[in-house]
């Protein structure tokens, strides 16, 4: 999509990532924290795809002779996104399993003791 | 015959044997431990008899590759500096084991720990590799800790932890220093090595520290702090009184050997490897020594616990050793050498006798004794003898070391070598006087005065208690009457250490150069470096009088040397 600068995609990614981090820090419910983490992962995916599409770093080489661009470099971003999604799927399965297990043990998961950033 | 390896590893082997013996066989274990102790003692005598006089080089050298990639060897050797220390170690550990024979709680384990400490001590004295030395230096920490923390008195855990942390804190910086030294040696010599003699060659020809700025001083102090903690010297001594008071009585007994590692380390490592830094640091170390002598003596006066008093008196007495070493005079350094041995013997004897007292009364507070001379005349006589030896009565062994050390300090002082003049020596003399005062006061309160009711049943020494005491007493007397017997084997090595420090680069003896010797005859040639014709068997007396380089007989005059400024800045 010509006309949209790479920076715009990165800005959106950074915004989502920051929002996710803020969410992880301030929310207490594990499920919501987990959703914020998913938000972070999607920000990452967006960043990967933007970089993959624009090939900013290989730009000088690519501009001169396009065949120099290694396919590794071009496909790397998309591959990363696929694997992030696969990992996220497994993570969700396990994570929600843990939340279910703790819920069954306690019938309450909005746990105040679960202060993640306190020792 | 690998005399030294056997000597070092025999006690460890014994400890392992004791360790794998079932816990139920305590008595057999104790017997076995004692046998190992006796065998080690005899083996040490056999080893010492192999040595030849007339050389400062290491003898009976053994070297096995250990960690080739880092240039670390299992290398052992013995010379004059360690001659009596080895003897002292095997003797005192044997006595300590005999003493813990009667221990009720798990005596087998205790004896196994003593054996490990013995290995560590012997290894530290004999190793010719810095990492090996450090390994042995640290190996004695945990066994000693447990010895105190398990078998000690009321405040045992605190005392043990204090000992451990002080020593470890000192030595870990020494480890950093050792590694820095080896890396520097690699820069200077092109090869990574931790070998003492190899690095000393570089130090002797001056290439080791060429153009490194303050590095030498930093590494010197990383060694010096560790050694001062071990000695223990004045500001680092506070582990020692607690340790003496809370440890079972074998603790101080072994410790009276262990603290020699500190002063030994100065002679073995600091003077040869950091010559300029050693000379530069002399004013500071002499001050510490003088303060230690006085401070130890003054604090000892107000102690009522005999073990604490001995601890402080040790601080005081070890000050003389430091004073002797850093006077950089012939007499001073000889005095330091012999004082180490004498202090080991007389403190060993004192601790043993205090142990007998404690075993009878369960306290070392001399106020609870009094008048027991009537019941225990033999104990009283030997005790007095030990005290006289310790305070340095002429014709007993303590006198020789202190006298020579003071002589050296005076000589250095009158030569104007150090800014303080003879002040150190004068201060130190007060220490001798005070030592007589507090020890005799303690003796008087313990043995004279009114015999209290509860002390009526106080028993004199049994024959099996008397025997080890008499051995020590014999050495106290012998060392005073015939000091040359004890001085002669050590003279050249101590001289070498001194010349390694104060000689100019190139004038310094090298351990690795077997064609260099030091003339041993007193007279104008004393301390001259002599080139012998060819590499010969170590130990054959020097015959050639072809003097290649005159040695510097006198301590360096600091005020007139160009590097005096840096020496001041270091403080």
């Amino acid at each position: 999509m010509n006309g949209v600068p790479l920076a715009a995609y990165l800005a959106l990614g950074l915004f989502m990532f920051t929002a996710g981090v803020v969410g992880v820090v301030i929310r207490r419910s594990p499920i919501v924290i987990f959703m914020c983490i998913e938000l972070m992962l999607n920000a990452v995916n967006l960043t990967f795809l933007a970089f993959a599409r624009y090939q900013f770093s290989t730009a000088p080489a690519l501009a001169q002779n396009p065949e120099l661009a290694t396919s590794n470099s071009i496909m790397g971003g998309q591959m990363m996104v696929i694997f992030v999604m696969a990992v996220a799927a497994a993570e969700v399965a396990v994570g929600l399993g843990i939340i279910m297990a703790i819920f069954r043990l306690r019938q309450n998961i909005d746990v105040d003791e679960l202060n993640l950033l306190k020792g | 015959m690998p005399y030294l390896s056997i000597l070092v590893l025999l006690p460890l082997f014994g400890a392992i044997l004791l360790g794998i013996m079932p816990e139920s066989r305590q008595k057999d274990g104790v017997q076995l431990g004692l046998v190992i102790g006796v065998v080690t003692f005899l083996w040490s005598i056999a080893t010492l008899m192999q040595l030849k006089a007339g050389t400062f080089h290491f003898q009976l050298v053994e070297s096995y590759p250990w960690i080739e990639s880092l240039g670390i060897k299992f290398a052992l050797g013995i010379d004059g500096i360690t001659y009596w220390l080895v003897f002292l170690t095997t003797l005192l550990t044997l006595v300590a084991m005999a003493f813990s024979h009667a221990q009720k709680v798990r005596p087998k384990t205790l004896i196994a720990l003593i054996l490990v400490v013995e290995t560590a001590l012997l290894g530290a004295f004999l190793s010719l590799d810095l990492i090996l030395f450090f390994s042995f230096f640290e190996l004695m920490l945990l066994p000693t800790y447990f010895m105190v923390a398990i078998w000690g008195g009321e405040g045992r855990r605190k005392a043990a932890a204090k000992f451990l942390i002080y020593t470890f804190a000192g030595s870990i910086f020494m480890l950093v220093g050792i590694i820095g030294l080896a890396l520097q040696a690699k820069t200077a010599g092109g090869e990574l090595t931790f070998g003492l003699t190899q690095i000393q060659v570089l130090a002797a020809n001056g290439s080791l520290w060429e153009g490194t700025g303050d590095l030498q001083k930093w590494i010197f102090w990383s060694f010096a702090i560790a050694l001062l903690v071990k000695t223990p010297s004045f500001p680092f001594h506070s582990w020692m009184p607690d340790f003496y008071a809370e440890a079972p009585i074998i603790g101080p007994m072994i410790s009276s050997v262990m603290i020699k590692l500190g002063t030994f380390g100065f002679l073995r490592f600091c003077l040869p490897l950091f010559p300029e830094a050693s000379v530069g640091a002399a004013p500071i170390l002499l001050s510490l020594a003088a303060i230690g002598i006085l401070y130890g003596a003054v604090v000892a006066i107000i102690q009522t616990d005999m073990r604490r008093m001995i601890a402080y008196s040790s601080v005081s007495h070890m000050g003389f050793v430091l004073l002797g070493i850093f006077s950089f005079t012939h007499a001073g350094i000889m005095g330091a050498g012999i004082q180490q041995f004498a202090h080991g013997i007389s403190t060993g004897l004192l601790v043993l006798l205090v142990g007998y007292l404690v075993s009878r009364k369960q306290t070392a507070d001399f106020r609870s004794f009094g008048g027991i001379k009537a019941n225990a005349p033999i104990l009283a006589a030997i005790f007095l003898f030990a005290i006289l030896g310790s305070v340095g009565l002429p014709s007993l062994n303590g006198f020789v070391g202190e006298f020579l050390a003071l002589l050296g300090a005076f000589e250095a002082g009158f030569n104007g070598s150090y800014g303080f003049g003879a002040g150190f020596a004068i201060l130190a003399v007060f220490g001798v006087v005070l030592a007589a005062a507090y020890l005799l006061y303690m003796f008087q309160r313990t043995f004279y005065g009114e015999l209290s009711e509860e002390n009526r049943t106080f028993k004199d020494l049994r024959p099996q208690e008397l025997f080890p005491a008499l051995i020590f007493a014999a050495f106290v007397l012998w060392g005073g009457l015939q000091p040359t017997v004890f001085l002669r084997p050590t003279e050249l090595s101590h001289q070498a250490a001194r010349m390694m420090a104060i000689g100019k680069p190139g004038d310094r003896p090298m351990w690795d150069d077997l064609t260099l010797e030091i003339a041993s005859k007193s007279g104008p040639n004393l301390g001259a470096l002599v080139r012998v014709e060819a590499i010969r068997e170590v130990g054959v007396p020097v015959t050639s009088n072809f003097v290649v380089q005159p040695a510097n007989l006198h301590p360096p005059v600091l005020g007139k040397k160009p590097d005096s400024k840096t020496a001041e800045a270091d403080h």
């Binding site: 996710g20 969410g23 993959a52 496909m75 | -």
Partner: protein, 175 residues
């Protein structure tokens, strides 16, 4: 890079701006809503819009996967668990206002501004996508997956196995 020309306002840019604003608002919604169900719905919207952005980046395959896997599977799982938990204890998923909230938001804004001002200006001039237009086509993605990236692909099978065994282990009712 080339000299930074003033950014031309193109229809594409306007379209992107619209989607991005909506996605960003949805992201804020995830964090800000006190009710977990609403957060989840915001997340779904965000994911959906992201899929659309993927399409505009010519990554069609991934856009589809995004919808199928994330919006379709993962979020459904989330909602399912939320509903399940809601049955057990009502109101537990609500969170009351928190004093830390404004501080954290301020911190987040500052962080965002700081990083963005460092990173992005140098990239403003990069407006020309250099990767071939078909780089996101299924056959290219598939080929890459089974040649260059075959080892991670196989590794992910282990990962999914772990996920399956693990979630069964954690969730099975009887121990």
């Amino acid at each position: 890079m080339e000299t930074s020309a003033p950014l031309a306002i193109t229809p594409e840019l306007l379209l992107f701006g619209g989607i991005a604003t909506a996605a960003a608002m949805a992201a804020v919604g995830v964090v800000a809503f006190n009710n977990a169900v609403r957060s989840a719905l915001c997340l779904v919207i965000n994911f959906f819009l992201l899929a659309f952005i993927y399409f505009t980046l010519q990554a069609e395959t991934l856009g589809i996967i995004q919808i199928v896997v994330y919006t379709g599977a993962i979020m459904v799982l989330f909602l399912f668990v939320i509903m399940l938990l809601n049955l057990g204890g009502s109101g537990l998923l609500q969170q009351k206002g928190d004093k830390r909230m404004p501080v954290a938001i301020a911190l987040g804004v500052v962080l965002f501004g700081l990083i963005a001002s460092q990173l992005l200006p140098g990239l403003m001039s990069v407006t020309k996508p250099l990767a071939p237009d078909n780089f996101g086509a299924p056959q290219n993605v598939g080929r890459a997956l089974f040649t260059q990236y075959v080892i991670p692909f196989e590794a992910v099978s282990v990962l999914l196995l772990v996920g399956i065994v693990g979630s069964i282990l954690l969730a099975k009712r009887r121990i």
